[in-house]
């Protein structure tokens, strides 16, 4: 696959030492025998490496100690029977270790990195001649997010709690790259990066990390310079084989947002070509009617929803990216007349999807009505603000409309509502949706949350869910950007 060494070197140079903090959790210190277990509660969500002192009592240890460690982001995970899980996401993501300890006492260091608030240790086997005590666990926790850079707006107690959880979510996801989730996939995805970067500018302000991630995507691409949906960084930087129409376009928006936040023109100039390449490749995905040809577009994400028809949202996302591409080109003093002409054509075509009767956008051959289609058409500024506000109001009158599934999609609804002047309603939605997760006692926001069915899983089991997922961190962005009186 094509590699741009210069870009990858820049990404490597932008790598920083992570911030470490040692955290300890205590147990009641009782003596454990075969079959016994103890749960450590670290009190908050952490990412890092754990160790624990194992103290024997009774006679000399005359057989290895066999321990199981289960790491959980939320308490419910500890009660899952792992053997039940047979979904399509690999079981290997389950944070479950088994370790034999030959010599006691010892301080046991587990090698892998985990994402957790709770750790359950179970004695799978010992012998009758000795017991073991585990009075405490210590975690060497890591992040590239510095709370010292965060300023706190005046907020109600409900909002303050939501903000705290949102910050924690982003904090745990900010490592060597912006990860989607530190439990799973621990990986840099373009769609997730866009929201994390926005929240980061308002909170932890680690601008180099965004820049590093931009260069990672630019440094390893698919054929013809097409951006992959995500990039691996170990053992070497290599992009995934999969690309998504919307995620590739979002590179343009991430770069423009980054320039807005930093004024870093050097990076803007350096990565302009990557944006132009995506545009050049993806402008071929439209039919003679000016609408997105889903065969040509390939995979379009929009939301974790297989039922959703993604033509309308895809059309809108293209326009959304084109808007920022024009801004980039203007900032670099390029001519934008051609791009503006194309923008007008795409918007014109998009309006063909607007159903005058219902006052809503429809998508695909079956003219599906969905929340996502309305949201993205608003974000793409296809309609005047007043008409966009009507669209938001009208969609609520259509209970048959395909709903949103993920915090990622809800972010875009909140943003769309703000954009059309429904700020109070947007605020209410944050309190209702993210507040719903907060009410469940979680310290971080989740990958998937359906208030009507919190057990819903696109993976076939909660045990592989990411309960700290970056794309749900944006209340911290909204509070500071829009609700900071």
């Amino acid at each position: 696959m094509p590699v741009n060494e210069r870009f990858l070197e820049k990404a490597e140079k932008l790598k920083r030492e992570l911030l470490h903090r040692s955290v300890t959790a205590e147990s009641d210190g009782r003596e454990l025998n075969s079959g016994d277990e103890v749960i450590f509660d670290f009190g908050n969500h952490y990412v890092g490496y754990v160790s624990c002192e194992l103290i024997p009592s009774g006679h000399h240890q005359d057989a290895p100690l066999y321990l199981q460690f289960q790491f959980a982001e939320i308490r419910e995970e500890l009660d899952s029977d792992y053997s039940d899980y047979n979904g399509w996401i690999s079981k290997s993501w389950i944070q479950d270790e088994r370790v034999h300890v030959d010599i006691l006492p010892t301080v046991l260091h587990l090698e892998r990195r985990y994402a957790f608030r709770y750790v359950k240790i179970r004695v799978l086997a010992a012998s009758d001649n000795y017991s073991v005590r585990i009075p405490r666990m210590t975690a060497d926790t890591i992040s590239s997010a510095d709370y010292g850079n965060v300023t706190y707006p005046a907020l109600s107690e409900t909002d303050r709690r939501i903000d705290e959880i949102a910050l924690r979510t982003l904090h745990s996801c900010m490592q060597d790259v912006f990860e989607d989730g530190p439990k799973r996939d621990r990986r840099l995805w373009l769609g997730d990066l866009r929201l994390e970067a926005l929240a980061n500018y308002e909170t932890f302000r680690n601008y180099d990390l965004v820049r590093r991630c931009l260069y990672l995507f630019a440094g390893s691409t698919l054929e013809h310079g097409r951006l992959a949906s995500n990039v691996f960084t170990a053992p070497e930087v290599e992009c995934d084989y999969q690309s998504m129409f919307d995620y590739a376009l979002f590179f343009i928006n991430v770069l423009w947002d980054y320039y807005q936040a930093t004024g870093d023109k050097e990076t803007l100039e350096d990565l302009e070509s990557v944006c132009l390449r995506q545009h050049e490749l993806l402008k071929e995905c439209f039919g003679s009617d000016g609408l997105l040809d889903m065969e040509k577009a390939g995979m379009v994400f929009v939301d974790w929803n297989f039922e959703l028809d993604k033509q309308a949202a895809g059309q809108a996302i293209y326009i959304y990216a084109l808007n920022d591409l024009i801004r980039i080109e203007k900032a670099l003093n390029r001519s934008v007349s051609e791009l503006k002409g194309e923008l007008a054509d795409r918007k014109q075509a998009a309006l063909k999807l607007f159903d005058r009767e219902s006052g809503l956008f429809v998508s695909g051959e079956k003219k599906q009505i969905s929340v996502a289609s309305q949201v993205w058409m608003i974000l793409a500024e296809v309609l005047p603000v007043e008409e966009g506000r009507d669209v938001i109001r009208k969609i609520n009158e259509h209970p048959e409309a395909v709903k949103l599934n993920s915090p990622y999609a809800y972010h875009h609804l909140v943003q769309a509502m703000i954009n059309v002047g429904l700020k109070d309603e947007a605020h209410d939605l944050i309190q209702e949706y993210w507040g719903g997760m907060a009410a469940r006692g979680s310290n971080t926001f989740w990958e998937i949350y359906n208030p009507e069915n919190p057990e819903e899983s696109p993976y076939g089991g909660l045990v592989v869910h990411s309960f700290c997922h970056a794309w749900s961190c944006t209340p911290a962005y909204f509070y500071r950007k829009y609700f900071n009186e």
Copy 2:
């Protein structure tokens, strides 16, 4: 517990670097996915540390690789269902590891030491996007036994094979101490040491290792200087809380054998007091009839057999040790008249257990007839040689007699037969008993072997058996000491 620092320092100084040898096993190198497994056959029994190269193919690894490693001394172990095992020996001895590998390719090093010929690796979970190949495993194998010191007697093919397996058994058990078995318990037991030392003098000739083990026992004892049946060496030297009447006495025999092999009078003088202390403590275990009081004697091992009445064998073992104690005292120019008087009394009492009618020794209140009782009375030289020979012949006419269960007990039968001049019959027995294990394709001799029921387990399951157990290594001793024409 009492510690003799001077003795422990000597033991520590006698610790040597282990000999290392790198060994490799190849696989067919095919691509493995979830649920697939591959078996590596190292071709012989080894003790050491393993590593393997894990080579991914397909798309980039997008989920951890979750592997299970099963180590087996004999092929049958790999087919055992571990979850079935619920015996009284800890499950933690089962050589079964589960490892998550986050980054491929890699060379994976497992940290623990294993005893094995076979290693099965099973892919517990991966993802559909990649496969893994494991073309080979490498073992850093260790032993304190040097084949370079071994001389080989002229032997028939059958005997040569038995000798090779016996040598391998001892080789694998010779580590920082003489271990009972390198899979389980990996520990220095006095009864096992005695036989290992005898075989070692005739083969690998690592005299310092025997000396080190003597000092370990002498350096950490129970109250009043009573020797424990076994000693732990990690994290610190500490003897077990259990003692056995026969094992404590055997210290005397191990020291005398060592002196016979080395002429090391310094060590004989240094450790004489330990022998005298055992004698002083254990001579109190006899009743007014001069016979062993089993209440006072406590645990007596003799064989892995709960059915066996151990009074007669215990009486004989005491006499057997007293014989060598007198030799030690003579070598150190001490007066032995008192010991000789006691010896005569103990032998006299032992003869009360000789049943004139059957011509056999009986044991306990129920006058139990067992092979072990006869064997030990012969080894204790309670009877003249000719009468001993009759005893061996007569015991075969008693199918109801309690039989021997372990190679440890069979060793003593072979020795007894040789002592009473039944050398050919002893040779036949070696070929029959140890040859039976050899015929089952094992590279090492076992902890337990009952030719009539090879599946017999005192532990409730074969999976925790030690299939390389030092106390079965003595054919290598017999061949060189008695069958080397």
